[in-house]
Structure formats: C-alpha cells, structure tokens
C-alpha cells in the first residue's frame, strides 16, 4: 500500500511541476501536496489512493493504467480536505503562514482544475475521448454533490430540527459521493460492464458513509477535545440523541451543546449524555448496516485476486465493533 501511495505522489509531483503557472502558485499547491504526503506516510491505506488502484487491478489485473485517475482522485481529496479544514478551523501548521485568500485559491485549483489535467494524461496513453469525457463528468458531478453535502453540514447547526434521515443523506453526499467516485473511476477505466461499475460505485458509497460515521464517533469519544463539539456540528451521534431524548433531558443536552462550542470544559458531560442516550451504540449500528451493504455490493462486483482480498480487508476495518465481535464478517450470498 505504501508503494502505491509513493507512485501516486510521484506522478502528482510531475503534474504540479509541469503546470504553466508562476512559481508562487505552484509553491502554494505544493504546500497541500506536502500535507497529503505526510498523511499517506502516516496512513498508507488512504482510500483515495487505494480504491481506484485496487478496483482497477481487481477487474483488469494491473494497477498502472489507473495511476492518473488515482492521482486525479487524490487532487480532489486534497482540495476538499483544504476546504473542509478551513471551514472547521483545522488548518495544518504548514498553512498557518498563508492568509485565507491564498488557502481558498489553492483549494479551488486543486478541486476544479488539476483533476482534469491529471485525467488528460490518459489521452496521451490512448484512452478513447468518450471515456475521458465520462471520467471528467464524474469528477464534476462528485464535486457538486460533495460541496452540497458540505453546505448542509455547515447549515445544520443553525437548524432547529435535523432528522436522522437528513443527517445520513448529508453524510452520503459529503462522504459517500467521493468514495463512490474513487471506486467507480477504477472500474470505468477497466471495464465497460455497467453492472460491475455500478456495484463498485455502490460499494464505495457505503464504505465512505461507514468511514465518515466512524470519524464522527471518534471525534466525540476518541479525543479529549472534540473539534465537532467546538464547531457546533450536528453529526449523527448528536442528531440521534436529540431525536430520541424528550423534555428536560433534551433541553439539557441542547444547552450543553451550546456551551460546548465555547470550550472543552463541558465535553465530558456531553459525551456522557450522548452515551446514555444510546448514541454510541446507534452509530455503531449504522456503521454496521452500511458496512454490510458495502460487503454485498463488493461481493456482487466479484473483485479478483489479491486486490480483491485487499478491498475486503479495507472494508473489514470500517467498523466500530471490537474485532472479536465480528465473527461472521461477510453476508450470506443470495
């Protein structure tokens, strides 16, 4: 997995080095590229890199032709990550010397321009124009859905009632859509079998939702200070508690959520009340449901060889259950 990450970032170095832009703009993009490299070093399983390459290999037996689309996915990821870090006030230290206008410019270039330029590499390698256009359209469509999801995520803290369905639909747009893209583009490049392509995309979407819900639970219970509570986010565990609690209990939680935005002092009390409302177990259940759906879609796609095994292994890790509790991981085939 580390080798794949190295290959993708080597290609990205070339793409950014060859851009016909002043060195100042290139250097700006390289800041975020550096953030991505550090992250891949710490977490080589990065889905944005592994999914397109593994899916392509699982279908066609070779990952090399998919390197440009994996690079395009990584550029989209880096742009979306930069945008999200800005919105959530979580910019990594390497951005602290840049002002917000520069950050926005870098995010726009990474999201809107560079994925297309990376896909253009495929033209030189003989990919037919119709397939290039299909790939390009998929990236545009995903950015649209991803940004719509991010916008909802921003608006939810100011809405009186956010339902569980609203919350899951937002997660599906924000995280399901890009993961669907990562899996889909690997398949689109490898086959014309539309049922296989759709199965991989559906697998990616469910996998992405499961991973986002794990992140949401981890933000609350896995860290001493919850960035989501400080940002007033309405993630699924919080929406769950507000949906099931009534009367005084609900009012108390709402008041606590308001003060939790000011400092981490009350985060432990919020955690306790969420756990008492069953929110951690509920989130684990939703992760489980999406993980099981992803397994069925992946089984339908029939990924072959070692790449297929790696895809299953990545999915096995998308769980909030201690591993011993997952004796039967894969659903029965129907």
């Amino acid at each position: 997995m580390r080798k794949r990450a190295g290959q993708v970032f080597a290609l990205l170095d070339k793409v950014i080095e060859a851009l016909p832009v002043p060195s100042t703009h290139r250097e700006l993009l390289q800041v975020q590229l550096g953030v991505g490299k550090e992250r891949a070093e710490a977490w080589p399983e990065m889905s944005v890199i592994q999914l397109p390459l593994l899916v392509h290999t699982a279908v066609a037996g070779d990952e090399r032709p998919a390197l440009p689309v994996a690079a395009a996915c990584t550029l989209l990821y880096l742009g979306a990550d930069l945008l999200d870090s800005t919105l959530d006030h979580e910019l990594p230290p390497s951005w602290h010397t840049h002002d917000s206008a520069e950050v926005n410019l870098a995010a726009t270039t990474l999201l809107a321009a560079l994925p297309q330029l990376s896909i253009a590499i495929l033209r030189e390698r003989g990919t037919p124009p119709a397939r290039l256009w299909a790939l390009s359209y998929l990236f545009a469509d995903t950015v649209l859905e991803l940004n719509a999801g991010q916008h909802e995520d921003l608006l939810f803290p100011n809405r009186e009632n956010v339902s569980l369905e609203d919350s899951l639909a937002m997660v599906k747009r924000k995280s399901g859509a890009p993961y669907a893209l990562f899996a889909r583009v690997g398949a689109v490049l490898a086959t014309e079998d539309s049922s296989a392509i759709e199965a991989y995309a559906a697998f990616g979407s469910c996998f992405g939702v499961a991973k986002q819900l794990i992140n949401d639970a981890w933000d609350i219970w896995g860290e001493d200070e919850s960035q989501d509570l400080l940002n007033g986010k309405r993630t699924l565990p919080i929406v769950h508690a507000l949906s099931v609690l009534r009367g005084e209990q609900r009012e108390r939680l709402q008041n606590l959520l308001a003060v939790a935005r000011e400092s981490a002092e009350h985060h432990d009390e919020v955690r306790s009340r969420l756990a008492a409302a069953g929110s951690v177990r509920y989130t684990a259940l939703m992760v489980w449901l999406y993980q099981q759906q992803a397994r069925r879609h992946l089984s339908a796609a029939s990924p072959q060889g070692p790449a297929g095994r790696e895809l299953r292994m990545l999915l096995d890790r998308a769980s909030l259950l201690p591993q011993a509790k997952e004796a039967r991981l894969w659903p029965k085939q129907t």
Partner: protein, 98 residues
C-alpha cells in the same frame, strides 16, 4: 447509480417513513431497555417482534437490513456502552476525514 436497498425507499414513496424507522432503532439502542421514557407503541412492538412490527408501521427497513440489525444485536448483546467507548478511545485507528 445502483439503488441502495432500503435507504432510498423513503424518497421514492411517502408510504415509507424512513426517519421513523431510524428513530425507532435509535431508541432501541438505549442500553438497559429504558423504554418507559418513550410512549411509542410501535417502538415497544419492535422490541418483541422486529419484522412484523416494522412492516405494520410501514418502516422502511428491507428484509436484509432487518437481518443485519438482528445480527448486530446478537453480536453486541454482551457489550456495554463503556466497551464501545473504550474501543473508540483506545484501539480504533482512523483515517483522516474531510
């Protein structure tokens, strides 16, 4: 796009009340069966007979989801909420989200 079982049904027809189903599962997830705090007959029914109750009330859970929920309940019956939290805090490794 492939339709994801169950999750898309609420949008296709008003007959299915997806959010009610999700909320019912949410209440079920409260440890220790503190259902007395909730006077929702459908939710009481779902604890004793998940499948017929869910369909009687038009809950949008597909048969496979019902099976998955049962599977999850079996696997986690002996797990306390504290064990879930310990797993999150101690052993779970996560990929940076956006």
């Amino acid at each position: 796009m492939v339709q994801q079982e169950g999750y898309e049904r609420g949008r296709e027809t008003e007959e299915f009340r997806r959010d009610t189903a999700l909320r019912a599962l949410g209440i079920l997830s409260i440890e220790g069966g503190q259902l007395s705090a909730y006077d929702d007959q459908s939710i009481r029914g779902i604890t004793t007979a998940l499948e017929p109750t869910s369909w009687d009330y038009g809950f949008a859970l597909s048969p496979k989801e019902v099976e998955d929920v049962k599977d999850f309940s079996e696997k986690t019956a002996s797990l306390s909420d504290e064990e879930f939290v310990r797993h999150l805090k101690g052993t779970l490794k996560i990929e940076r989200r956006w």
